[in-house]
Symmetry: C2
Subunit: 340 residues, 2 copies
């Protein structure tokens, strides 16, 4: 179709048929609608999403995180190219907290995974992390669903391993992979507390050249550390591997671990029940998110919140009283679904 | 005063003056009001609390947790007796998830710390954990404040180290002590993920008799494990000690660590800023809690929630749509502060 077609504002039927055909331009436009701040855009996006819902859920959703410098981009490029070489349509969604402030990192994404970006079997979409959990989750989750409807079989959700976003991402993927560097002792320095415990697997990156021995040591150290924690609730013991994006080693091994995980968890029924729980949590988070949005955007609350926060902080007003005071003002407002 | 006085429904002035005098019966009654489900009781309790607020905040708030069998009661009894021997008025608040179901454990608490329970310098108050974070927090926090107003200088908040409640408790105390057992490898089995990372100190219990060597080994193992994690945001590196409630060893050492922590954190200003943040979080949690309580108690929502949860779970309705559908019903309700 000509570019003129894409310039027009399209209706939901056009989006639906286009996305089901795997049209990346329409997929991108639909994601933009989801990320838009305009309620009208969101409404259209949700309408599209609802029609696409029966065509979603068939992908394998993989979360990948690691501190800056761990080599995330190189790994995802190698891993992604490996997957497309298996003829698996692969989407990469990067949740980048910084991209709220500067669009720079978004441009960055495109170039830092150049090979994959030009791969017809791959789709890379950087997206700004919302400033709220509800925000991050809802948008990222809807984006995953759109990509699935467009026929992507593996969806990689990338986060920077230093922010709040890991827990949120853990709640929207099937498998969580943590990339780690081989350092000199204190291996976990810089990794946010608790992240290691969310991992289904840890990959020690840059295991090449002089770094191989150090990486093997780090691998054992992580194995010992993980050994000290109980297995995940699903009975899975996180695996640790070394890999090199340079020599393309360990990539196949990581994929095999993920497939093994998928097979075991599907046979246990955990895979499905986990997704059900994720959907239900999503609904609850959305409810909580929209309730609080409506509350904090009420004029009366806006007028008081700064003062009340100060009073509660320095202990001159009990937190519960301040809360109830503002809540009573909120509930005196005429309810307005548009607020939501 | 005669028991008849306590039987009457008292007014807030009577509560306030009594609690400031350190009257434990009135303190207990006030805590009961806070834990009551009757709005009128809560209103009275909040009125009392507001008047007492200027007299709160002067205690050292210590959270203590550990899995069943670690010897929490014996430790808290020894630790508590040690504190009262220093003439420190000590309150022990136990947050017991099970006590929601059976009152048994509440009676249990009284007897399992018999010596401390009969100590005139000590006050033991078991309380059922609410079924929500907001619940747990608000009631426990208000109870802490009441105890402070009654002149208690050290307040120990005890939780069972296997539930949801640790994170909540971490958010209402100044110092978090984790009790651990010396086991054979896999030291962390049974401890809920993430709890170890919340600890400001770990005490290996039952370090007596044949157990001493094993406890020293466990201590080193914990030190190594902790060494792998970054220091807490306040720059504090968690300490690990061994102790014995039987031989009363390690108790003084633990108290010294807590005092050292208090001194350093106060000189850094972290102690104060942490409490300010805790108060503000408390207000925000309360807002979120009351908003959701009002939402889920709306008749229209009650009618739909089960069906919507099912639809969202099995993926036939998008989570966001289900949420917005119920939210629009909620906001169409005439606002009613009494709901809150």
């Amino acid at each position: 179709m000509g570019t003129s077609f894409y310039k027009k504002r399209l209706n939901s039927a056009q989006y639906v048929s286009g996305i089901l055909k795997g049209d990346r331009i329409l997929l991108s436009k639909a994601i933009t609608l989801i990320e838009s701040k305009l309620p009208s855009d969101n409404a259209l996006a949700e309408n599209v999403l609802e029609q696409l819902l029966p065509h979603t859920g068939k992908s394998l959703r993989i979360g990948i995180t690691g501190v800056p410098g761990v080599g995330k981009s190189s790994f995802i490029e190698s891993f992604g190219k490996f997957l497309t070489s298996l003829r698996k349509k692969t989407a990469v969604l990067t949740i980048d907290p910084s991209s709220q402030r500067s669009k720079g990192s978004i441009l960055g994404d495109k170039t830092r995974m150049e090979e994959l970006a030009n791969d017809p079997m791959a789709f890379i979409r950087p997206s700004a992390a919302g400033d709220t959990l509800g925000g991050v989750n809802s948008k990222s989750r809807e984006t995953i669903l759109l990509c699935e409807a467009a026929g992507f079989e593996v969806i990689i959700v990338e986060t920077v391993g230093v922010g709040q976003s890991e827990t949120a991402v853990r709640g929207i993927v099937d498998f969580f992979l943590l990339l780690m560097l081989a350092g000199a002792g204190d291996e976990l320095q810089g990794i946010k507390k608790g992240i290691m415990e969310m991992a289904d697997a840890i990959a020690v990156t840059k295991a090449d050249g002089d770094n191989i021995r150090k990486s093997e040591l780090a691998k054992r150290e992580y194995q010992n550390a993980l050994h000290m924690f109980p297995p995940n609730e699903n009975g899975w013991y996180p695996k640790v591997v070394t890999c090199s994006s340079l020599n393309k080693t360990g990539i196949q091994e990581i994929w095999d671990i993920i497939l093994q995980y998928e097979e075991i968890m599907k046979s246990k029924g955990y895979f499905q029940s986990n997704r059900q729980q994720q959907n239900i949590s999503w609904m609850k988070e959305a409810i909580s998110y929209y309730l609080q949005t409506a509350f904090y955007n009420t004029d009366e609350v806006k007028k008081m919140i700064a003062l009340k926060t100060k009073e509660v902080g320095n202990g001159t007003t009990p937190a519960i009283m301040a809360a109830k005071e503002m809540l009573s003002l909120f509930f005196q407002q005429p309810g307005n679904p548009d607020e939501v």
